[in-house]
């Protein structure tokens, strides 16, 4: 019984300590990531509106949010997309964000 308790504690600790928040990014680093990159370009001309959508992750255990292009376009009131960028941040693998930025009309 004691061994089982110790094993359970060790297993939980191993999971907690080995997990880290990962985020999609053109480049990533262990200590700090703050990188912007391209996602898509369309043939539509000009931008006067911008919309963003964001998802966040903590410790690689919890991840929530809607960082879809559709959500970002809706937030900006955009019906014709010109181009889409992404912005990823990660601090020590503890806290990560992924943001989609949509430009259009």
């Amino acid at each position: 019984m004691k061994n089982l308790k110790m094993f359970s504690i060790a297993a939980v600790a191993a999971v907690m300590l080995s997990s880290c928040a990962m985020v999609k990014s053109p480049l990533s680093a262990v200590i700090y990531t703050d990188v912007k990159g391209p996602v898509a370009v369309t043939g539509n001309s000009g931008s006067s509106k911008v919309g963003t959508a964001k998802a966040t992750g903590i410790l690689g255990i919890l991840a929530t949010g809607d960082a879809s292009i559709d959500a970002a376009a809706k937030n900006g009131g955009i019906t014709k997309i010109h181009h889409v960028d992404e912005h990823a941040t990660n601090i020590l693998g503890l806290f990560a964000t992924y943001e989609v930025i949509v430009y259009g009309e």
Partner: protein
């Protein structure tokens, strides 16, 4: 024994270095993370990323807004999300400072649900100068949403207002320099 103490010293130095780097990264209050810009045919398009601070009391929730503007334009677009437990129709938004009150009509983008709240997404057009005046206020201002069920007053704490106002003043200065 000597090797052990050396190893511990190196580990301590490594941990100290990581914490130093972390504190530098997190303490730097740069405005660069609060906006994006894009060069367009009619000038530089700026987007002030979503920022929160204003909130209502009771069943009234928080307001999160972003701002889109061209450097050479007089006007800007103020988009915001407002969360509330009550089903409403938002009609107008007023920016109320000690010296000025600016009221503009709202255009609905969408209404959705988020947990137990309604998520209202609306858009307003106003003059750049009007919003600059709002953020120039040292006294804590308020935002009033006029709805089909009356007015909703949204307020902000003094500490948060100092942060929000300072940040937005710098952002507008950046736009003016372009």
């Amino acid at each position: 024994m000597v090797n052990n103490s050396r190893f511990i010293k190196w580990v301590q130095r490594g941990v100290a270095l990581i914490f130093c780097l972390f504190s530098i990264v997190t303490s730097a209050q740069k405005i660069s993370k609060f906006y994006t810009s894009s060069l367009q045919a009619n000038g530089m398009l700026y987007f002030f990323k979503p920022q929160k601070g204003f909130a209502g009391s009771g069943s009234h929730g928080k307001l999160i807004n972003d701002v889109t503007l061209f450097a050479k334009s007089d006007s800007l677009t103020f988009n915001f999300s407002y969360f509330d437990k009550t089903a409403l129709q938002l009609e107008q938004i007023s920016f109320v400072s000690a010296t000025h009150t600016i009221t503009v009509p709202l255009q609905k983008l969408y209404v959705e649900t988020k947990k137990n709240n309604w998520h209202y997404r609306y858009s307003a057009r106003l003059l750049q100068k009007s919003l600059q005046l709002f953020y120039a206020s040292d006294k804590i201002p308020g935002i009033i949403l006029q709805t089909n069920q009356g007015e909703i007053l949204l307020s902000v704490s003094k500490r948060q207002w100092q942060k929000i106002a300072g940040r937005n003043r710098r952002l507008f200065t950046l736009v003016a320099l372009n």
